[in-house]
Subunit: 221 residues, 2 copies
DNA sequence: AACTCTGCTACGGTTTCCCGTAAGAATAAT
DNA sequence: ATTATTCTTACGGGAAACCGTAGCAGAGTT
């Protein structure tokens, strides 16, 4: 089993239960930090003293507080950690369920496992750690199923820009100016109308208000 | 200290750390369930056998799975539990941070404490349980700060009805019919316009889209 | 009962948005 | 180079939303 494990998780109770879960697995007593910057420092020191960590378990989103951090999120931490120690195994433990985010982690960040904070997360953590120890990838099963969203629209940068401007209060007729200044094209008013219509049609809406509410719900804005 | 505590929390690791936190406090070994329906059943049985619980610690949002539940969320659980045992103390432990939701819990559900799942939640849980044991209310400090929302608007039932209709896609000019059918008055189109203007003015907005986004953010809809 | 005060509603003018059509630009195909 | 295709933009009529004004109904006061 892994000998040196580092936990990066800001939520105190989650951090505690991670430690306990690892203890049940027979892993060595893990070390743990509450901030990303600390995590990177510890990883660097461990490499320097030639006792590097075997596994990093990290959350994705950390809350800001009075301690200003250079690294503010799990993704950046992973990237920085991989630069220091490319062979470090990474297990992400987060509430995030959007497939776009998780796919990116596996493909671009090359993480080794993802467990979502959800009903059976304790069991899945154990399975994940075992799998990773055997040099396999792991994804918690509640996410493998979650691919049923069907009539969702692929929001382009343009779409998001338009919606963001609406949420900012920009009148529709003024959005072309904004798009031109930010070199987003197309920028014509008709194109904006067309794009809004397309989004609403695909999602079965008739008014902008519905679209805004939907985007808020799924976290696009 | 409390003698009988019930934990309702679907996330396995959170459930574990709650148990551990209570153990550190010197509370009796708590009982725990992963579903709201189970929680209510246990509360009922405890009342029936005249060994009622002293404290219920519950999450707000539970995930659906193959076990179909009658009670799907913490708020409904609290309501049902209070009917069975009105003097049951309630501590809500959830990630929710929207003031509208939390205010509702204290005012309408008459809960005794709220701790947000966040950085120092372990410490706050202990403080909360002690406070509740001394018949005081408790709110975790990370939320007290967020309460300084300044130019917030008191949303009336009418306001919420109007906004809900907009989110449903009802054209503004048709909302009067809806209001009349639901015996909400005033129902005139001018009143709706006036109300929308008031809301937007107070919050410094100019367009409905901004208002919808704001309401989504603070959890009014 | 007459009066004020307050709040709801109805009406009209202006602006914005909606939507279809068609002209223009850019890219691809022959 | 010419044609085809696709994408972008411009224009104009009609609908909806916006905004100020004025009339109307009910509650309370004298």
């Amino acid at each position: 089993m892994f000998k040196r494990i580092l936990i990066a998780e800001d939520q105190e109770t989650q951090n505690i239960s991670l430690q306990k879960t690892l203890a049940e697995l027979g892993a060595a007593k893990p070390e743990y930090v509450y901030y990303c910057d600390d995590a990177l420092t510890w990883i660097k020191n461990a490499v320097k003293t030639e006792q590097p960590y075997d596994l990093l378990i990290t959350d994705l989103y950390f809350e800001e507080d009075h301690n200003r951090q250079k690294i503010t999120g799990g993704t950046e931490l992973i990237k920085a950690a991989k630069e220091v120690q490319p062979d470090l195994k990474i297990l992400v433990f987060s509430g995030e369920s959007k497939t776009a985010v998780i796919d990116m982690l596996f493909k671009e960040m090359n993480i080794d496992g993802y467990v979502r904070k959800a009903r059976h997360d304790g069991q899945y953590l154990k399975l994940a750690i075992n799998a990773i120890h055997n040099h396999k990838k792991y994804l918690s099963p509640d996410l493998k199923l979650a691919r049923k969203e069907n009539n969702s629209h692929d929001f382009t940068d343009l779409d998001i820009a338009i919606i963001s401007q609406l949420v900012e209060g920009t009148p529709q007729k003024n959005i072309p100016y904004y798009l031109q200044e930010n070199n987003i094209k197309p920028s014509g008013l008709s194109s904006i109308e067309k794009r809004l219509n397309l989004m609403k049609e695909v999602l079965g809406f008739s008014k902008n208000e519905q679209l805004i509410a939907y985007c808020k719900d799924v976290g696009i804005i």
